[in-house]
Amino acid sequence: MRFIPSCKEVSELLSQAQDRPLTLKEKLALYVHLPLCEGCRNFSRQLGFIRSAVKRYIERDDTPRS
């Protein structure tokens, strides 16, 4: 990985951050990339949204709406 990682690499790290703790080096890579890149910041927020959406999807009709 270059000093400033690419969006592709960052998207991979952001995804894996949802599945395992990142190493210090990986966190640093995000730290240098994210402030410069709105696209990846949006992607990062979207990952959180997707995670909660899956849960909401299953829960959604739980209480019958009248």
């Binding site: 991979e12 894996q16 949802q18 997707i50 995670r51 899956v54 999807y57 829960e59 009709d61």
Partner: protein, 198 residues
């Protein structure tokens, strides 16, 4: 309040009629994971049966719903194990390559996004919209079966990657690639069909 819930829970846990109210939730849970109506209904039926028979196993520490979900999880994993013995889903090689190809297609050669993820504003508002859930369902169904299975094992059943790898006999790297691909395609589809249109 907690004590009340627990008493109410214990009564519910051994009452078939009270357990029925969770059927549609359980079915949705099983269906997302198994993608097969009959298999999902079977798993839910077995769960409710096991719950009624073992109602005493309900400790009152969690809600009845959490307790039932725990039973269902085991039924689903049993089903997945049976299924993978009968018809191994993981035909490696070709599939793995195509997962990586899907990811590659979303980025330029220099690693920049092919189309930059846009801001979704306050996306949680979509939760209230019935149409959004139709789009969400459509987007989720675009994933190939194997990808969807790994994704839902992680996001619905909340298994760790280690557990998923063990169940499916795949490597951790393979697992991360599939999850990355699943999230990227779901994201792209939601932006294309929903958030990009607001």
């Amino acid at each position: 309040m907690a004590a009340n819930n627990s008493i109410k829970g214990s009564a519910q846990a051994s009452d078939p009629a009270a357990l029925e109210q969770f059927r549609s939730y359980l079915l949705r849970y099983a269906l997302v994971q198994l993608r097969d109506q009959t298999a999902a209904e079977d798993a839910v039926q077995e769960t409710l049966l096991a719950a009624v028979e073992g109602g005493a196993g309900f400790s009152g520490k969690s809600s009845v719903k959490t307790w039932l979900t725990g039973i269902l999880k085991h039924k689903i994993i049993d089903h997945l194990r049976r299924q993978s013995r009968e018809q191994p889903l993981i035909a490696a090689g070709h599939d793995e390559r195509s997962e990586a190809e899907v990811i590659d297609a979303m980025f330029k050669d220099d690693g920049h996004w092919e189309s930059f993820p846009a801001s979704w504003g306050d996306p949680d508002q979509a939760f209230e919209n019935k149409k959004f859930w139709e789009v969400f369902e459509t987007c989720a169904k675009l994933m190939p079966a194997k990808t969807a299975r790994v994704f839902t094992m992680r996001e619905v059943m909340e298994l760790s990657t280690e557990e998923i790898c063990m169940e499916l006999g795949i490597t951790a790297t393979n697992c991360w690639v599939m999850l990355h691909r699943a999230r990227l395609s779901l994201r792209e589809c939601l932006e294309l069909k929903w958030f990009g249109k607001l």
